[in-house]
């Protein structure tokens, strides 16, 4: 039994999500190799080699993998993946895009978004926006898996000393081309990995008012999230959406401001350790999951929160 983990990385850094996928692979058992594919990824491969529990890092440095195009990456993963019993990636946008192509190529099922490992072939995953939790067993010879990274504590980033091998194969399917990207620039912690997240909903009224949340986030070192309604209304960009169909977060502290608590939103933050809700409607469903609920107008409460926090943090 052996697992190939497909690494996530951006701007030349190994993403923390990969450390959680390695943790999930460890729970399965067997040797763990990591595939790093992209353009100029030598540094990422070195970082992956230091992660705890890694046997070998395979570095595929090629233009064809430069923009994570699924058509090209899937060919590489299927080739390099031969001989492994498990192929695993995070359930981030690259893993979701690419792994089903790999599974179809190998004529096997994919187990999406696992939040638990029961044995080498049995996994726990959320269905119906996390309102039900399924335990599923795969009868395929190769298991293609994406991992809900918030469900696995990351392995240590340092301490390992795996070898790095370079992979020459260049697969360009010739079907798709990268045109452009618009990436959010932020000095804040990554939403999916932050210890504290403060999110705003439709109650924020406009994008400008999110500055109030930024001031609180500055005090707490928090990431900022949003509900679908806030994204749809154009207050903030799509990469901030938390929920069933957005990002999954599980911080120590989640502060929901002007968010009603629809099941699709709860699906993305319900595993947070502590949940605070600030909402002027005392019957808002968010209060049913909040550890601390404050019934108040957010335009009064949020500036006050900033002041009070400054006194104690």
């Amino acid at each position: 039994m052996s697992t190939l983990v497909i690494a996530d990385h951006n701007k030349g850094e190994l993403a923390g999500s990969t450390l959680s996928v390695i943790a999930a692979a460890k729970a399965i058992g067997g040797d763990i190799d990591v595939l790093v594919a992209g353009k100029d990824i030598g540094g990422v491969a070195e970082q992956a080699a230091k992660a705890d529990g890694v046997n070998k890092v395979l570095a595929a440095d090629n233009d064809a993998y430069g923009h994570d195009l699924a058509e090209n990456l899937s060919l590489l993963i299927a080739e390099i993946g031969k001989g492994y019993s498990h192929l695993m990636a995070s359930a981030g946008s690259v893993g979701k895009d690419t792994m089903p192509r790999v599974a179809a190529m190998l004529d096997v099922a994919q187990v999406s978004d696992i939040m638990g490992v029961q044995s080498e072939d049995t996994f726990v995953r959320p269905i119906y926006a996390g309102n039900a939790i399924a335990t599923v067993q795969s009868s395929d010879s190769v298991k293609v898996i994406t991992v809900r990274t918030t469900s696995f504590d990351p392995v240590a980033a340092e301490g390992g000393s795996a070898s790095v091998e370079s992979v020459d194969s260049a697969h360009d399917a010739g079907l798709s081309e990268f045109v452009s990207e618009e990436l959010a620039e932020s000095d804040r912690p990554d939403l999916a990995a932050a210890d504290v997240v403060i999110s705003g909903g439709r109650g924020m009224q406009n994008g400008d008012n999110f500055k109030m949340l930024e001031s609180v986030a500055d005090v707490l070192g928090a990431a900022i999230g949003a509900s679908r309604a806030a994204v749809d209304a154009g207050f903030v960009p799509n990469d901030m959406q938390v929920g069933q169909t957005g990002k999954i977060v599980a911080p120590n502290l989640y502060i929901a401001v002007g968010i009603s608590g629809a099941i699709q939103h709860l699906a993305g933050m319900g595993d947070s350790k502590f949940i605070v809700a600030i909402n002027k409607d005392e019957d808002a469903p968010i209060f049913q999951v909040a550890d601390y609920g404050l019934v108040a107008d957010l335009f009064d409460a949020v500036p006050q929160l900033e002041e009070e926090l400054k006194k104690v943090v």
Binding site: E71, A104, Q110, A132, S139, V196, P237, L253, G293
Partner: protein
Amino acid sequence: MKVLVAVKRVIDYNVKVRVKPDNTGVDLSNVKMAMNPFCEIAVEEAVRLKEKGVATEIVAVTIGPKVSQEQLRTALALGADRAIQVETDEDVQSLDAAKMLKAVVDKEEPNLVIMGKQSIDTDNNQTGQMLAQLAGMPQGTFASEVEVEGEKVKVTREIDGGLMTVSLNLPAVVTTDLRLNEPRYASLPNIMKAKKKPLETVSPADLGVDVAPRLKTLKVEEPQPRQPGIKVESVEELVDKLKNEAKVI
């Protein structure tokens, strides 16, 4: 050009599901069912392409039991020209669904396939990508903008870091994200007209696909309930609790 849209019958997104007491699944009896919201967005996009004169024919397809014809009728009412139902009562998993759709693609030869990025029941987010692979097509997943330009389609995709635009050779598969469009409602006259539009029924066997689930569901449980929380009276009390009780700041 011809557009194929795949739609799925699922539990209505407003319904809170209940797990069956014997833990074999969720209880879908007497529950409101509807078209998967992402599939509605897919149908809407196809209709807009037709309104722009880009698409000439829209074929809607679904896989499921007889009652899922309701969702095909909805697609027809929204503007699809004809519909195909792959009728089966079996539990069709993503790979088999993709194989059936591939067989439909072989027969219909669409220039563009549009489908939802995920269905809100199994939350798998797989079928579009699997179909693209099986059909040898490129894919534009999680689309928030679709523009057909001659022999190519330009797709803006919602990714973790923001937005990414790709150019795909046609034929291609596009899977929809929430911001692609806001689906319209079917008007009464269109609902009436939809009843007369052609709807063909085939079986998985007709398509040469043997339904073979690879994943066995051993059990389905309720998620761990959260401990009930409290209401605080003031911001001061909130910050005090966060500091001294929860110890998270």
